[in-house]
Each structure stands twice: as C-alpha cells, then as structure tokens.
Symmetry: C4
Amino acid sequence: MNRDTARRRAFDILERDLPGDRVADVVHYFLIATILLSVSGAVLATVPSLEMRDTWWFAAGEHVALAVFSVEYLVRLWVAPEHPLRRGMSPQRARLAYVVTAPAIIDLLAIAPLFFALVHEHDFHAVMVLRLLRFLKLARYSSGFNALYLSVKRERYALLSCFLILCSGVLIAATAMYLAERTIQPQQFGSIPAAMWWAITTLTTVGYGDVVPVTTVGRIIGGITMVSGLVMLALPIAIIASSFSEVISKHHFVVTFSMISRLPPFSELEAPVLGDLLPLLNSRNFDRGHQVVRRGEAAEHLFVVLEGRLEREASTGGGVEMLGPGAVFGLLPGASGAQAVAVRAVAKSKILAIEENELHVLALRHPVVVGRLMAAATRNAGA
Amino acid sequence: MNRDTARRRAFDILERDLPGDRVADVVHYFLIATILLSVSGAVLATVPSLEMRDTWWFAAGEHVALAVFSVEYLVRLWVAPEHPLRRGMSPQRARLAYVVTAPAIIDLLAIAPLFFALVHEHDFHAVMVLRLLRFLKLARYSSGFNALYLSVKRERYALLSCFLILCSGVLIAATAMYLAERTIQPQQFGSIPAAMWWAITTLTTVGYGDVVPVTTVGRIIGGITMVSGLVMLALPIAIIASSFSEVISKHHFVVTFSMISRLPPFSELEAPVLGDLLPLLNSRNFDRGHQVVRRGEAAEHLFVVLEGRLEREASTGGGVEMLGPGAVFGLLPGASGAQAVAVRAVAKSKILAIEENELHVLALRHPVVVGRLMAAATRNAGA
Amino acid sequence: MNRDTARRRAFDILERDLPGDRVADVVHYFLIATILLSVSGAVLATVPSLEMRDTWWFAAGEHVALAVFSVEYLVRLWVAPEHPLRRGMSPQRARLAYVVTAPAIIDLLAIAPLFFALVHEHDFHAVMVLRLLRFLKLARYSSGFNALYLSVKRERYALLSCFLILCSGVLIAATAMYLAERTIQPQQFGSIPAAMWWAITTLTTVGYGDVVPVTTVGRIIGGITMVSGLVMLALPIAIIASSFSEVISKHHFVVTFSMISRLPPFSELEAPVLGDLLPLLNSRNFDRGHQVVRRGEAAEHLFVVLEGRLEREASTGGGVEMLGPGAVFGLLPGASGAQAVAVRAVAKSKILAIEENELHVLALRHPVVVGRLMAAATRNAGA
Amino acid sequence: MNRDTARRRAFDILERDLPGDRVADVVHYFLIATILLSVSGAVLATVPSLEMRDTWWFAAGEHVALAVFSVEYLVRLWVAPEHPLRRGMSPQRARLAYVVTAPAIIDLLAIAPLFFALVHEHDFHAVMVLRLLRFLKLARYSSGFNALYLSVKRERYALLSCFLILCSGVLIAATAMYLAERTIQPQQFGSIPAAMWWAITTLTTVGYGDVVPVTTVGRIIGGITMVSGLVMLALPIAIIASSFSEVISKHHFVVTFSMISRLPPFSELEAPVLGDLLPLLNSRNFDRGHQVVRRGEAAEHLFVVLEGRLEREASTGGGVEMLGPGAVFGLLPGASGAQAVAVRAVAKSKILAIEENELHVLALRHPVVVGRLMAAATRNAGA
C-alpha cells in the first residue's frame, strides 16, 4: 500500500463514508468513548470527596486521552487533502484550509490544555476545566448540532429582535419593580441591576423564588410580568421551532426527491406526478444488521430500496439474494399471511415503506405506478 | 359451542372489535377499573398514617387483583392464535410470538410481584412498588400512548441531538458557575456535578430556588443560562409537536380517505377530485347511544355515515329505521326549521359532517356531488 | 308596539345582532360592567382589612347586581322563542330548551346565591364565593371561550391520552423518588402520594422548591424527570395549539369564502380560481366609527367591502356617500399621493384589504379580476 | 448645496436608505451606541455602591446624550417632509403629521426628562428612570418589534380571549385555594386577592415557592391548577407563534415574488409556473463586504442577484466586474472543483441561492428555466 492509498484509507476510516466498514466503526466508537470518558473524568475530578486527582490511574487516563486526541488531530491534518471540497488544492493549502474550520479549531482546543499545562504549571485548575471543551468534539458526530446551528443562523435577525424585546421587557419590569419596592426590600430591589435579576427569572418563567415582591403593587407588576413572560416564551419557540423543522424537512425532501426520481418505476413518471406522490411516500433508515422483514411475520408494507444493500434469505433452500437500490419487496396483493423470507440490511440503507392503506390511496390516483411496483414485487418474490 | 368458537369469542371480547358487544364492554371496563383500584391501593399503601397494609380487606383486594390479572394473562395467551397478524402460525408459535410483544411483557410484569413475593418473602417493599407497573397496562386502551411512542421513535435521532445539545448546555453552564461561585458557595457550587444540578433546574425552567447564584458574575451567567433554556425548551417542543400531530393526522387522513373512496356518491369520483374534497370533509366519532340529531333541533349539518350503525326514529308513526355506511341524512336545502326525526348511534360510528357553509363551498366546486348527496338525503327523509 | 314586536326588539338588543344599534351597545356594556363590578366586589369582600362586608354601599351594590341579573335572566327566558334555532317550537318548549343550555345554566348559577342566602342564612361564606361564578357570564361575550371549548372537545381523546401519559410520568417519578429518598427526607418523600406532589410540580416545570431532592441519586431522578417534563409540556401545547388555530382559521376561511363568492367581480369567477385567490386576500374587521382611510394619507390598500356599512366624505363639496357590500375604494393605480376622501365605518364592517404588492401578484395571475376591481375603484372615485 | 438638497441628504442619512452610504452607517451606529451608553448609565446610576451620580463624567455623559437626542429630534422634524408618505403635504403639515407618530413620541419622551429636570428640580429620581425610555428608541432599528406589534394587533381579539380565560383560571384557582387553606395559612390564603398571587405564579408555571399549599386538598387543587397552566401556556404560544411567523413569511413571500417576477429569465414565465418555483427558491441577504463566493472554494449554489451590487474579481488579470440585479453566477454544471473567482457584496444585496440538489429538482420540472440560468451563468463566467 503506497502513501496515497494509505491516506485515502485513513480518510475513509475517519469520515466513516463506506457503509459496512468494520474498522471505521471501531475507530468511530473508540473516539466517542474516549471523549465521554475524558469529559466524565474532568467533571468528577472537581468533586473533592472523590480525591481522584492524586490517583495514578486518573493521571494515566488523562495522558492516554491527550495522546489519542493528539494523534487524531495529526491524522486529520494529514488526510485533509482527501476531502472532496479541497481536492483541487495543493496538500499544504488544503491543510491550512482545514486548520481554520470550526471542527479543527475545537479539536485543537481539546488538546490545548496539554500545552498550557506544560507551560503554566501553576494554573492547573483552568486547565482541568478547559478539557470540558472536548464535549464539543461530539458535535462532529451529530447532525442535530448542525441543524440547530443552521436554524439559528437563518433566523439570527428574528432572534436578535426577540432578544431586544426580552431586554426591553427585563428593563421595564425591573424599573417598575425598583420604583415599587426599593424602599421595602432594599436588599433585593435597591437598584435596577438588582431588580433585573428578578425580572429575568420571572420573564423566563424559571421563578427561583429567592427574590419575590411582597407589596400589592409589586405583586400586580409581578403578575403582568409573568403574563408577558408567556409571550416572551412564545416568540423564540415559534422562530426556532419552525426554522428547525423546516431545515430538517427541507433537507429530507430534497434528498428523497432526488433519490426517487432516479429509480424505476418512478424515473419514468413526469415530475408533477412525482411531486403528487411524494407526500404519500415515507423513507426509513435501517442501520447495518437491522431486520426489515422478519420471517413468519405478516408484511405490512411494500418496500422500495433507495440506497444501501440488503440481504434476502428464503426459507426454502437457504439461498441468499442481495437487494440494491430499486429492488421492491414486502406486501404482496394476493399473498395473505406470514412472509416466507427474511430481509436484513447489510449496510446502512434508506428504504421507502408504503403501508397497505397508502397503497390503496396510491392505486386510486396512479394505478400504473402501483401496477409496476406490484409486478416488480411479484417478480422478485418469484425469483 | 366448540373450542375454536369459544376461543374466537374470547378474542373478540378482549379486543372489543365488534361494535355494540355488551359483554366486551363490561369486561373492558371491569379490567380498567381493576387496574385503577389496584394501582390506587398500591399508592395509598405507602402512606404510613392510613395503616392499610395490615387490614384484611387490603390483602383480599390485592389477591383478587392478582387473580384477575393472572386469568387475563392466561386467556390472552390462549386466544393469541386468533390475532390476524398471527393467523398463519401454529398455536404454539403464535403464543410464543405473543409472549415477547410489549403488551404481553407488561402484563407479565404486572403479575410478577406475586411470584416474587412467594419466593423472596422478606423484600416486601420492592414488591409493593412493582405493582405500580400495572398502570402501564392502561397503555393498551389508549391510542395516545401508541402515537407518542411512534412520534418519539420516528424522531429518535433528532431527539438524541436535542439531548446532546441539552447536555452541552448543562456542562457549559455548570462549569461557568463552578468557576464563578465555587469559593463563595462551596456547598452549592463546590464541584461541577453539584453545579450541574443548578444548571439542569435552570435550563428546563423548573427553577426550584434551592441553589441560586448570589454574585453579579454568577447572576449574569444565570441570566444567559435562562435565555438559552428557552431555546432548549423550543427544540423538543418543535420536534415532538410536529411529529405527534403528523402521526395522528396522517393516520386520520388515510383512514378517512380509504373509507370515503368506497362510498357512493364519492366512489364514482376520480381520485384527484376526491383529494380536493377531503380538506372540506370532517369526520366525527359517535359512541353508542350518542344522539347525532335531536328531535326538534334545527339540523346544522349534512351527515354521511362512514362506519357503524344508527337508528332513526320518525316522529310520526314511530317506525325505527336502521342507517348503515353510505346513508345520508340531516340538513335539507328546502326544509328550514326543526327536525322531525331523531338519529342515535347504536354502535360506535364514524360520520362525515358537512356544515351549511361548507356545503355552499362544495356546491360551488363540485355541484354534481352535492346534488347527489342532496338527492340521497331527500330520498332518505321521504322513505 | 305589540307584544311580539317588543319581544323581537328585546331579543335583538340582547343578542346585539343589528349593526349600529346604540341601545344594544349600551345594554351590552352595562351588563359587562355590572359583571366586572360584581365580581370585583366579591373578590375584595374577602380581604379582612378592607372591612367592606359591613358597609351599606357594598350591600346595596350587591342587591343591585342581583336585581340586574335576575331581570336579565327573565328577559332572556321571555325572548327565547325568538332564537333562529328554536323558531319552530312552541314558546313553552323553546323556553324549556333554552333553560338547559350552558349559558342559561351559568346565568342561573350567577343569581342562585340570592336564593341560597334566603334559605341558608348561616352559610354566608360559601354564598359570597358562589358569586364569582358570574365571571363565567363573560364567556357569552367572548368568541375565544367558544373556540377553546370546541378545540378541547375536538381533541378530547388526544388530551385524555396526554393526561394518562402525565399520570404515568407522575407515578413513575414519584415512585422512583420515594424509593430513593424516603429514609432521608421522610417528611417530603415518606409516601408515594407525598412524592407525587414533588413529581407534579417538577413535570409541569412549576418548581416551587418546597420539596427538593438532596441525594445524588435523587437529583439524577430529578434531572430525568425535568427533561421528561419538557416532553409533557410539548404534547398538550401541540394538540391545543394546532386545534385552536385550526378552529379559528377554518371558521374564518369558510366565512370569507362564502362572502367573497357572492360579491362581484368575484362571483363571476369559477370556484377553483377563487380558491387560488383566497390566500392572497386578507379580511379585516372595523368597528363602528373606525377610520378606514384618513384624509390626506396615502392609500396603501385596495379595499373591497364584504359586510357592513361605511361612509365616504369627499373633501370638495362635503357630500357624504354610503358604501355597502361590494363597494371598492382605496389605492388607485394612477393617482399617487394623498387621498382626497375619508372613509369611516358606520357599522361593524368586514373589509377585504389588498396591499399594493399583493395587487401586483394578483395582477400577474388574474389580470381580469384586477382590471375589474380597478375599474370599480375608479368609477367609485369619480362618482 | 442648497437647502432642499441638504434636507434630502439628511433624510437619506437618517433613514439609511441608500446602500453603501458610509456617512449614514456612522450616524446610525453612533446613535445606537449613544442609546446603549445612555441607558446603561441610567441603569448603573441606581446602584448606590457605584456612587456614579456625583461624578463629573457621569453628568457630562448625561448632557452629551441629551444634546445628541435633542439634535436628532430637531433634524428628524426638519426632514419630515421628505418622507414618501408625506410628500404631498406642506412642510408644516408634514412635520405635524410626523410629531404624532409613535417613533416621534418615543423620541420626545427620551429627551423629556431634561425639561422635567429643569422645571421640577426636586423629583430627580423619577427623571433618572424616565431616561430608560430611550431603550425604546432602538425599536426604530429593529424589524422584529414591528412584526411583534403587527402580530399582536392582528390577533388582539384572540389574545383578549386568552387573557379572559387566564383571568377565569386565576379566579377559580384562587377561590378554590382560599376555601381550602384560608384557616391553615391565613397569611398566604386569607383572602382571594392574596390567593390570586399564588394562582398567577402557578398558572404561568413561574412557581416562586413563596406561597405553597400544605394540605392534601390544597395540593390536589394545586396539581389541577398546574396541569391547567399547561393549557394556558399553549394558547398564547399558539396564537402569537402562528401569527408572528405568518407576518414574517408573508412579508418575505410577497417581496421575493415581486422581485423575481421582474427578473429574466423568470419574467418570461407564466405566473402559475412562477408560483410552483417559489418554494424551491431561497433568497439570502448579504451585507456590504460579505463574501458570496470565496476564491478556491467549490461553488455549492447557483446565485441569481435580486437586489444590490456585487463585485467579481477574476484570478487572472485582476479585472473587477460589477454585478447587478439579474446577474447569474456560481455553480457551473461542467466545471467541478474550485472557483477561480471571488464575489463580494459592495452594497446590501438580496441573492437567490439554489443548491445543487434543488437545481436537479428544478431541472426535472422546468428544464427550460434551468437551461437559461445555466446559459447565463456560463456566459457570465466566460465574460
């Protein structure tokens, strides 16, 4: 294996791009486990009663984690030119471009405490805490972080307005309460900044209860503040919620649409018909090893493979058949009762699942499509 | 009655599939009442002042409940082969397949304390508490539990991301507060795990107030945490809410569509026209005995029976007419004023109810459909 | 004026059906004011320091309110046969049918304390409190109460499921906490019912803080309960919210659709075209006396009157012109700058308001419609 | 520069209407900074320990801020006739019309304390607090404030109903708790107004915990109140949320639609086709100086300029080309790999960004449109 092949292989392992790559899975889960253990260690090290900080195994674990993350950082730096978005660049430029991306900066911060600790031996405490940044390394493995980031970014102007409205609310509530109770509770409402603490806990409906109005006027102001707080709650919920679900559903729609439009029998349809069908089609993801159809169970869906690979094991004879994109199986119109075959995903797969009721609806609207799907399913079952 | 017929009857009773089956209703409500009484007993038995645990009637009730649930479990096991999904299997396989379903496991856990108590006489307390699991038996009778389960399952990756974001939030807020107030309130913020208790109560806006920042820096960190908490609230609300309502509405849409498409005059329409109509049609459920139309009241809707059976009692003569799926009654175009008939559901029924205003809209778009509906209603009224 | 005409007039006054009826308005606001004053009195009477209960004016006010509500009840009973839904019945039957409606029962309960107080002189306190039921009389004047009632009724099965899920959550959380802290905090968590108080305050995110876990295990249980609480929050919000806005928007859509479809130039359109237009059209309500167009301001909308009556005052000459349903005025394509006329609603009116930008969109899709609207507006302006 | 030109220039600077006007930006940010500093000063001046009120620099800052706001007010008054909506009026009438607008009143209130302080020397405290009204001046710079105002206004009847429902809830909960615990906790629940404080904190889920039921009956009432509180939360969230997002999205839809419909190749399309396209098209805003395409990065979108001006810098030769509305650039079908050009906004721009996947969908539905876009992009790239 020459150097280029090795770099390609290392990139595939780290990015876990190939379905069914066992080495990539092991590396993947090993890194996640190391992050979780390292963060848990850093958290528990702050508990005085555990006295963990002086044990040999804590220090050892700490050094192992630092070594793992350092190696990971260097390997990611090495394989940076393999990324599709940086393929046209020279290796040096590609690495430089990688170093300034958000994940690379987080990775660097996750190992920075080591270098800090070597230089500033005395400030051990801040260094311990800095290791908690490693938790952010998990963002790399979560699509939700990305969707939240996109939603917040998309709606940053609306959220800024919300924040401004919240600030006005805090300011007005705090001022009113300051005027109402500054002489009765000077400790709690003696200045506007002090009253702001009460205002923010009330407007967000957290309500600690450490600072509470006691006069009638103060309680009326408090009641108005609480009711306004419901509106304050409503605004960011409305903004984030609609944006978040739009980001997720739009991504899903576009991906499913472009997959379906390339698969027979759907590829033969005109686009407007395809658009009509789409809301009736649900795609599901199956991880490697998951059973799509269990032997002996009645099939409740008609399945169309969009992506990935599956394995069908017939009960008689024991032959194993591989199913790829475009394969149709499952529910057969005539064949009631239990399935004679089992279908299992052998790689991460995306499968269209159509319920019997939906098939009925579909058949009413587009009899030709359903006819072809049924023909394909029968042909496959007979094969 | 031979054994197979008896098993079939027992299955129908337990599943309450036939509308208007009085025996099934009695068994149904008896089981629900037994669950509620048994759970209430287990809860109240933990109140020391009631001294219920030593009374003879408490022990008797406990034994009766155990007997009921044991019999129920055995009967459900016996009738398992009758389930449509397990009809092709041998009785033994069908029962084995049933035993591993979620409801069967919950049922077993609900009677397990009996066997536990027989074996481990000493650990009575844990056994008492285990009986609370019986509450989960109610899930069998609630479609909402199922919809929640499906929603959560469908969005498990998005919810996992939310959880990860929440964990990051807790970790960051706890660390910041630990650094800010660990020396001022060592009892509350002396370690990161201790500070995490404050962070989780604040981010979820519960805000007990048992741990509260007292310094200016701590309060600024607290304010930022509270505002972030609003975003934390927004994400799961958005995900669960949209998923839950989609699961419910999708189920409803598909069921209504397939029912309507089989009923004249709708069955004569082309599917796209039917799709246009659907948003204007609302189906309503009526339980047995509910009045659909009251004598003497003005009819405000045109009704089309989708499912179930109804009884129409004319004011003159006293003849009673049965209405089944496809029957049309109610609002008549010419006949203003009060109804001369009363219509009552004699079995659980699903009825399409079209308001006068909606009928107007419908008539504009599809005059033929409305014409036929009106003709059917007039014919029925004249019969 | 004979008796029937008087009854008709009394009904119109109480139901406030005729736009621009000054007597009805006075009666309407007088009744609302009496309710508010009576309820405020009942609330303030419970404050010992005010010593209101012994003052002569409090007793007088109380008697006046009772007299007003009694008269109102009797008048409503008298005019009951005038209601469109009860027009076919005999007066006696109509009154009996009215007496058992929800508003009539509330009205009766609002005056019941009087009779109670006459019979049971001693139980004065409960009687005082019963008067608070008068607040519910306000529901008659609020369409929101009705929409909430319809939403809750429509979704009663889903809400029941929510309630069941909440009960399960409370039960599980309380049991877990009971097992965890029953020996450490016997006062707070010594029995499951006691622990349920903590569980419900936590799951609803109210979080009083009077009962708080103190052990590590208890705090972990608490954290899980809080996060589950977010899901508990999400379910009813999702159900009520979607149902509530659907009830409101459906009502609005059907009302607007049927109004527009009867007005030229829209009545000449085919229904599908009308359906396309609808999302672009916003209707607004104007109360009597509100200015629709101010003299000297630039018109920003094209207005089409759907319902009600308006008065247009031209600047020159001072003639006043009445506008009814179907009239078009406002924004003119050629005439930039300020309006020379003022338009004021003389009765509660519903007016379609089309913004300049929307008019642009409309003109692209349906040039004929916009042409006719513009012609009508120009013709009106020239008149 | 004569007086009219100067007034026009002053208006443009204050309204910041011309993109890329450096003077307007400086004035804009200077005013925002002055507001923030002045409000911060007013807040911090209430903290006794800071002893700011007697320092010379605090008084100086206060006078500077007053001077700035007074000058701003006078200049805005001077330029009022330049506003498009007041163009037809005489200068005096235009200024009078301006003085009674909401922003002008807020501006006046922001400087009013000066005049107050001059007249009523003694009431210094109220004057200090009045300066906090300056924060509302920021509303002028935030579109969110306006959207919130419009949403609340649009739904004022629904929100009033919500408020009525909330009042009923508070009244019922307070009365029930008053009856249950008025003898056990006379301090907390001794009168209905006192119990209302508990009811409002519970219904809004704030839950301070300063007043808490202690009896079993009280806690059951409390539990019911909390669960009702979730419904109370749901209603305003549903109303505000849907209204707010509708106001924002409607504004966005109409603006984008009217822009796109004027640009080739979209202007050649029929309106219904355009309507189909719209959901697939996302517009993005770029501020001056923002990079749209970075040199060396792979283009991931096809961009169509809707508004504003951009600058394209080719790598070879160094010529700079200006792009205006209608220009197409970015993703090229054949050209994989990195971009050879950089594109930067030189004024605030609105750009349509079409992702590769969306382009695929678009090409399926409307091949002609995509063909023309691609041709334009290739032509531009070759230029």
